[in-house]
């Protein structure tokens, strides 16, 4: 896991998100390759006889979360990530063809599994009906081409532009986003693998996607999962960073725009021809749940189990339903596919995440 992460995601994403964005000084130093020959020559010329350990070194404390400040971005994110995903497991139920993401607090004396997310895919017949919507969305390709292509890579620039997120001022925030992105990628790939849903191009040669169809399953949409996770995480962080007593904290004040952006990113994938609207609907739920989970792990708060039953995502007469932000995910007016349990679940303590969270909050004050 760790190897895969460092190599694959911390390398790729810390390189891509925090590494690339917070690149300024640390990136500059790390990247400036000083020749070893030069260092050998320099030392040999000036070193003189060795006089033993002459410096006063303060050894960092044992298992101190604040030691995270000592580490480079990639290793810091990797350390936090292992803590974040500790206790996550996947289960499937063959009868109803459901898949669950569960959490067990492995640090507790008695270990209990608790469900976080329960998903059930739409039927093949539903996907076929949804194909009409995918075909209709192709009308928007020329309009959205620039966005679709820009969003082939993680759409960080779109969120940065909205909330004023910068590499020089918000390095720890970028690392939190890096963490939630990694969490999404890992979780969604297991779900995609489990459900193994076909892409739109499998149902018709006339979809002709405007970008290459990715090499993994269609449902749920990874782009939707990640974009909604970004939106929910940023909202929570901006709220936590707002001074107490403010009537509408900044996260809440940004809620509508963050949600619209996430939805736009999700829909753009349908426009491109690589996703069904119902993929976005499930991704919205999953991304929201995963961001909630990260925030709860970082702050010691609780989460509510969420579910999405794809078989209920259709119109009153069985017609294909488009994805819309107006569909509510909870409450009495909710779209029936979405569920959110009334009771809440604790998700243990994660001191490393908690440290990173607090540092990120400071960046917005």
């Amino acid at each position: 896991m760790s190897g895969g992460l460092s190599g694959g995601l911390s390398g790729g994403l810390s390189g891509g998100l925090s590494g690339g964005l917070s690149g300024g000084l640390s990136g500059g130093l790390g990247a400036a390759m000083v020749s070893s020959d030069a260092l050998i020559l320099s030392r040999a010329a000036i070193v003189g006889p060795f006089t033993g350990a002459s410096l006063h070194a303060t050894e960092p404390g044992f298992d101190e979360p604040a030691n995270l400040k000592l580490w480079a971005d990639g290793p810091r994110v990797t350390a936090c990530f292992t803590e974040l995903v500790e206790g996550l497991l996947f289960r499937t139920r063959n009868g109803p063809k459901e898949a669950l993401l569960e959490f067990a607090n492995l640090q507790a004396n008695t270990i209990q599994r608790k469900p976080l997310v329960c998903l059930r895919a739409p039927t093949k017949a539903q996907f076929k009906k949804q194909l009409d919507l995918v075909a209709a969305y192709a009308d928007l390709r020329a309009d959205r081409a620039a966005e679709v292509v820009a969003q082939l890579t993680p759409p960080l620039a779109f969120f940065s532009s909205m909330v004023g997120l910068t590499a020089h001022r918000h390095p720890k925030t970028l690392q939190l986003l890096d963490l939630v992105f990694s969490l999404c990628v890992h979780v969604e790939m297991r779900f995609k693998h489990t459900f193994a849903s076909l892409r739109p191009e499998a149902f018709s040669p006339q979809i002709q996607p405007m970008i290459q169809t990715p090499g993994h399953g269609s449902w749920p949409s990874g782009h939707a999962t990640e974009a909604f996770a970004f939106a929910v995480l940023l909202e929570a962080l901006l709220n936590a960073a707002t001074a107490e007593g403010v009537a509408t904290p900044n996260g809440t004040a940004s809620h509508e725009q963050l949600q619209r952006l996430a939805a736009r990113i999700a829909v753009n994938r349908t426009v491109a021809g690589v996703h069904f609207p119902v993929d976005s609907a499930a991704g919205r739920l999953l991304g929201t749940a995963l961001a909630d989970f990260l925030v709860a792990r970082a702050t010691g708060t609780r989460v509510h189990e969420r579910g999405f039953d794809g078989r209920l995502f259709q119109g009153a007469n069985g017609e294909a339903l488009d994805f819309s932000l107006h569909q509510k995910m909870d409450g009495p007016q909710r779209q029936p596919a979405y569920t959110r349990s009334a009771t809440s679940t604790g998700v243990g303590n994660a001191p490393l995440l908690a440290w990173l969270w607090e540092e990120a909050i400071k960046e917005w004050k």
């Binding site: 009906k129 009409d132 919507l133 075909a135 209709a136 969305y137 009308d139 928007l140 619209r260 119109g315 009153a316 007469n317 069985g318 017609e319 294909a320 488009d322 932000l325 107006h326």
Partner: protein, 644 residues
């Protein structure tokens, strides 16, 4: 799974008309019935807000009634007509603003009813839902305007008119626009990004007073424009930015404006390489600037009031001796196309009454390749299905008009929403219905009367759809994708139909969220190969380019102008978007009187690669290129003015 069903139309909260009653829709404007069904949602009325106070309408009077007769039979408390309509004796058309009482009176007062042949809804958005100032009363007399113009006069009705552009100045540096009327009312009006709650009324000290004979908008005389220009002249140069800011002409801060380009083609002095010294380049001008509500509402059906009022304004500023040519580079796609819409009939009568002293030029339209028209013959028992593709993310309503000739009473219409296996019940002529969401809000309406106010021959069925997207959760949105519309002839004799999709695109510089719907089928040639840009008689598709025509320019007396390439190519000399002359598919059966061939042609593209022609931009000296038959008609207007 239950099949979708039609619900009856409700009783109108404004008109009090029980639209669901037998015969209630016959002879009426179906857009009014639909507006009442969705509570004027298409005209930006938010849920829970009050209905409009007044409705703008355009009226055709029954012979031999005239405007004074209608004024005498009504009261200004519920029917207001601009005084300008008293100027032309025997005119059988006028615009008006009406209150609910008008509709009560129509029901109870047989004399009033006998005066009115038909009426159509205008554009009921503020400020056109306010009372007029100084409307006609029974004692009103025609009152001539000041500064009547003689000789050759060019009139223009358009948007974005840069009245201080050097192209429109005479050799003394004074404006040739002797009269300028803008129909809008707010400094920061109804354009995208500005929600109406931030509106400020225009300042009459800057935008000019309301012309007494029109009762709304603001007017600038040539002298007022000259005075403002001189006040904003620095070191011999007019500071156009500051001038337009002072005059509250906010749209002229944009570098490209449709009306300015069009006006320069009609009467500009050419450019330094090709100067033009003709009568048109010296003629006096009268300009009417449409309200941006019209420009935004490219559904266009509601331009009738604005354009007719504009034409009356221009005529009221000209002396009886004047030779007037008016260009209207604007248009819509749906309508009877036989010249019998109220606006077209009104323009025809005005031209006839002026006996050769008035000519009106109108573009033939730009939608030749846009798949917005279908036509087919319906032999007994034959059914023709149209696939009407409505786009996602369309924030405006979509409309389809199905026109039938007289004697088509056995045609039924059935509609299948996208994603629904079963159609709504087939509807016979004389009926109407709404398909609603779970809360009763209409997603779609089909209004299929025996006769219609939209034209005088046959009838028109209107299929209206809610937008397919909205930012407001409370708004109703219709499903997008292919709507199947099937016309079936259940009778014993053959008939035919024309289907026209209403214009629903975005005008230059705007962002209304409109998206043009279109027809599709497997036989229609979209290949772009040679020969694929015209209809071939043997192609079985009902989607026909021929017959796609600006629905403002099918009158008998107006001149429709198609677009050509200045330099022809081996594939032909027509601009691809323009109707052609002669008609490549002339033998196809058509409803009586339908016009589908332009009267005249003028270049609107330079060559196959360089679409559009050059004209002036907003600022003096700037040159821009715009494509479309909007460029053809002003060139014909220029020719006619020079010959006059």
């Amino acid at each position: 799974m239950s099949a979708p069903v039609w619900q009856p139309l409700p009783t109108g909260e404004f008109t009090g008309i029980d639209w669901g009653a037998p015969g209630a829709i016959d002879g009426q404007d179906p857009y009014l019935a639909w507006a009442e069904a969705d509570h004027f949602a298409g005209y930006r009325r938010r849920p829970g807000k009050k209905p409009p106070k007044w409705l703008p309408i355009v009226i055709q009077l029954s012979e031999p009634a005239d405007v004074p007769a209608l004024v005498a039979a009504s009261r200004t408390a519920w029917l207001q007509i601009p005084r300008v309509y008293l100027n032309v004796p025997d005119l059988r058309f006028c615009s008006a603003r009406v209150k609910p009482r008008f509709f009560n009176k129509l029901r109870s007062d047989a004399h009033l009813r006998s005066l009115i042949q038909r009426f159509e809804l205008g554009l009921p958005v503020a400020p056109h839902t306010h009372a007029l100032t100084d409307p006609c009363t029974p004692t009103s007399q025609p009152t001539p305007a000041h500064g009547l113009l003689g000789g050759k006069v060019l009139g223009l009705i358009d948007g974005g008119l840069a009245l201080a552009n050097s192209a429109f100045l005479n050799r003394h540096g004074h404006t040739r626009i002797r009269h300028f009327w803008r129909q809008d009312a707010y400094e920061n009006g109804n354009w995208p990004g500005n929600q109406p709650r931030h509106r400020e009324p225009l300042d009459p000290a800057r935008a000019g007073p309301t012309p007494h004979d029109m009762g709304y908008g603001h007017e600038l005389s040539g002298a007022a424009i000259d005075a403002a220009m001189s006040a904003y002249t620095r070191q011999g140069q007019v500071d156009e930015d500051a001038l337009y800011q002072h005059l509250q002409l906010w749209d002229l801060s944009k570098p490209v404006n449709h009306g300015t380009h069009v006006l320069s083609l009609a009467c500009g002095p050419g450019n330094p390489l090709h100067p033009i010294h003709d009568d048109a380049s010296r003629a006096d001008l009268v300009a009417v600037q449409l309200d941006w509500s019209n420009v935004l509402d490219t559904s266009g059906g509601a331009m009738n009031v604005s354009v007719l009022d504009g034409l009356m304004y221009i005529l009221a500023r000209c002396a009886p001796s004047a030779q007037v040519v008016v260009n209207i580079s604007w248009g819509t796609l749906a309508g009877p196309h036989d010249g019998s819409s109220i606006l077209e009939a009104a323009m025809d009568q005005l031209i006839a009454l002026y006996g050769g002293r008035l000519q009106v030029t109108v573009p033939a339209g730009n939608a030749y390749q846009s798949r917005t028209h279908a036509n087919a013959t319906l032999t007994p028992n034959r059914a023709v299905t149209l696939n009407w593709r409505v786009q996602p993310d369309d924030r405006t309503q979509s409309f389809l008009e199905l026109w039938l000739p007289d004697g088509a009473q056995d045609v039924t219409i059935s509609v299948t929403p996208p994603g629904h296996p079963q159609p709504l019940p087939a509807m016979p002529m004389g009926q109407a219905g709404l398909w609603t969401d779970a809360h009763g809000a209409p997603l779609c309406g089909l209004i299929f009367p025996t006769t219609t106010a939209l034209g005088t021959r046959g009838t028109c069925a209107l299929l209206a759809l809610a937008p397919t997207f909205s930012r407001h959760a409370a708004d109703t949105t219709a499903p997008f994708g292919p709507w199947k519309v099937t016309l079936t002839n259940t009778g014993a004799s053959a008939t035919l139909f024309d289907a026209y999709i209403e214009r629903d695109d975005v005008a230059i510089g705007q962002n209304t969220g409109a998206r043009q719907s279109y027809f599709e089928d497997a036989d229609y040639d979209t290949s772009g190969n040679l020969g694929s840009f015209v209809d071939h008689p043997d192609n079985p598709t009902p989607i026909r380019r021929s017959g796609t025509f600006n629905s403002l320019s099918t009158g008998r007396n107006t001149v429709s102008v198609g677009g050509t390439r200045r330099e022809a190519s081996p594939s032909g000399h027509f601009a691809l978007y323009s109707p052609r002359k002669p008609d490549p598919d002339a033998g196809r059966p058509e409803r009586p009187g339908v016009k589908k061939v332009p009267d005249k042609l003028q270049p609107s593209d330079d060559n196959p690669a360089l679409w559009g022609v050059l004209g002036v931009g907003s600022r003096s000296g700037s040159v821009i290129r715009l494509a479309g038959t909007s460029s053809s008609s002003p060139q014909l207007a220029r020719q006619r003015l020079n010959e006059a």
